[in-house]
Symmetry: C2
Subunit: 341 residues, 2 copies
């Protein structure tokens, strides 16, 4: 196998110095070389099948053209669209995303982070933020550009693109109230996550603003955004408050777990208990019953996060800490109905 041809191979073939070849090949500096020469270089490159070596370029320019994307779990169907949005925007500017699945494991997250720093990514897009997250400090110490996506953090010194979770939960809760429900429970997400805490707060506020009772046993905090965790949370919730007629779940997976437990206990959804989810995950409309949920523009979250990071990477000078919030929408389906008489 002949080794790949290099810049100086091209230069030699075109009969110029490699510096000239470099400038000719790079659109941004092409104007520095004579038109005819440039074409000769381009032709030589084409004939040799020259492929620039991004590694060598990266060493010299100390920019790798890569961005680290840290997500909790690719198998949670909510993240692929976010990743997709990020990639589409980055690819358009010649950047490549390096994906890292942390599996909600701090150990693993640290290792992956190190590996990305070693690879000299130009910036990070982080979807694993906790409300107070040591990794973010470390990133800041390294002087790395960071944009948070989907999950925010308590600190206000990081760019972030999130959905308006407060509004989303308010929409779902008010939908239930307007449908006639008065005893509504909440399956909350982990409270060390921004999404878990803000959604729980919004639930509480919404009930308050409608002057509805909210005894503490109407809220159960789940320890993960998973079906299993939603199921066990629902068991607790129903044991504590058997007279609930509706459950606002902080997430679709929790809602699915809730539906499982309702079925397990012989309670019909939505006839006896209504359930709402959050995210409008793919195929939520195909479930039995089709899930009433809050649609979040995941793709756009990713795309905007990508844009924010690109802006920081490509535009010189100081940057504002932008915090962008995108609007969710209530999607009414079959898992909600008026309460039983």
């Amino acid at each position: 196998m002949p080794r790949a041809s290099t810049l100086s191979d091209v230069a030699q073939r075109a009969g110029v110095h490699q510096a000239t070849a470099s400038r000719a090949l790079n659109p941004a500096s092409r104007h520095l070389v004579n038109r005819a020469t440039a074409e000769r270089v381009l032709a030589a490159a084409r004939e040799l099948g020259y492929v620039p070596n991004a590694i060598a370029r990266g060493l010299r320019t100390s920019r790798s053209g890569t961005v680290g994307v840290i997500i909790p779990d690719l198998m949670n169907p909510l993240f692929p669209p976010i990743v997709r949005g990020i990639e589409d925007v980055l690819a358009h500017e010649g950047y490549t995303a390096l994906l890292a699945n942390t599996d909600n494991d701090e150990q693993r997250e640290r290792a992956l982070f190190e590996s990305l720093v070693t690879r000299r990514v130009d910036g990070f897009i982080v979807a694993t933020a906790r409300r107070n997250h040591p990794l973010l400090d470390e990133a800041a110490r390294h002087g790395l550009k960071v944009v948070l996506v989907y999950r925010g953090t308590d600190r206000t010194d990081f760019c972030a693109v999130t959905a308006d979770d407060r509004l989303g939960i308010a929409l779902a809760t008010e939908h239930l109230i307007q449908t006639g429900h008065r005893r509504i429970g909440h399956l909350a997400g982990p409270q060390d996550l921004y999404t878990g805490s803000i959604r729980a707060n919004s639930f509480t506020e919404t009930l308050r603003s409608h002057h509805l009772r909210l005894p503490p046993e109407h809220i159960v905090v789940c320890d993960a955004y998973s079906e299993a965790s939603g199921a066990s949370g629902t068991r607790t919730l129903l044991d504590q408050a058997p007279d609930l007629t509706a459950i606002v779940a902080a997430n679709d997976l929790l809602a699915l777990g809730a539906c499982d437990v309702l079925r397990e206990r012989g309670l019909r959804c939505p006839d006896q208990v209504s359930v709402t989810g959050f995210n409008d995950m793919p195929f939520a409309d195909k479930f039995d019953p089709p899930l009433t949920t809050v649609r979040v523009p995941h793709y756009d979250l990713g795309a905007e996060a990508g844009r924010l990071l690109l802006d920081q990477l490509t535009r010189p000078g100081p940057h504002l800490v932008k915090r962008l919030s995108l609007p969710p929408a209530l999607i009414t389906r079959g898992s909600t109905a008026p309460p039983p008489q």
Copy 2:
């Protein structure tokens, strides 16, 4: 922001030459340096927060420690587990996956491929193979290591890890036959894909081997593995052959499209028409009706593909072209039942 410390910073602080520092830092060559010296270097590195520069290393060693992973669409729920399997195996050996979504677009695929070649990935794992795929030739010309995953190709000179699709479809089809069905249709996938063609062949063979009639209008080829495509294929199928009592879909998404159309036409599934899918995508058990389908060990496909590639990358010498096939399993759920009387 102080610039990141380099190898020679570490060497200086430890009072040794950078060559020595390099050897001390690298476990594989550490035995070449005096124990005490090595510890001094390690300490210096720790104090300075030294992070090796993978770019510089890659330039020198001409190995990037990255692998290109080309998949058709991350949002198809079947691929995240594959990616996950790949990443887990690669990460364990210090490799990083560069993910590329082609969106089934050849143009886009070519661009992403170029970009990965530029980044000097050490190898490729390809899940977008078509039966006859120009990209694969090009990769071979570049002398790149390639392992196919999930989808094979007609050529036999590439390593591949696939499910035993032939067996999978046979299981689904025989399940229907044993349940009493005689007039069974097939929603086939794109025939330029290995999976599409082998599944269609297996369907035909299975019916033949049971001496069942199979008029050509009982098979409709869909032009993509998507719900929409499955829906329109099903319309054609039902128009051509209204007396079918069962449909073997080449894929879960096609099966979902089929269920949509059955509902749209007032046909009850499974009472009037049974449907089987393929892949056992996440949440297939939650659908209405729960989908009878063929479970494919996606995670393991990815993991094995990763192992195969790693073996080629790390073990010197010539390599066998291994073709690995993993067994699927029939998962019987609510979308299949005996045919109506």
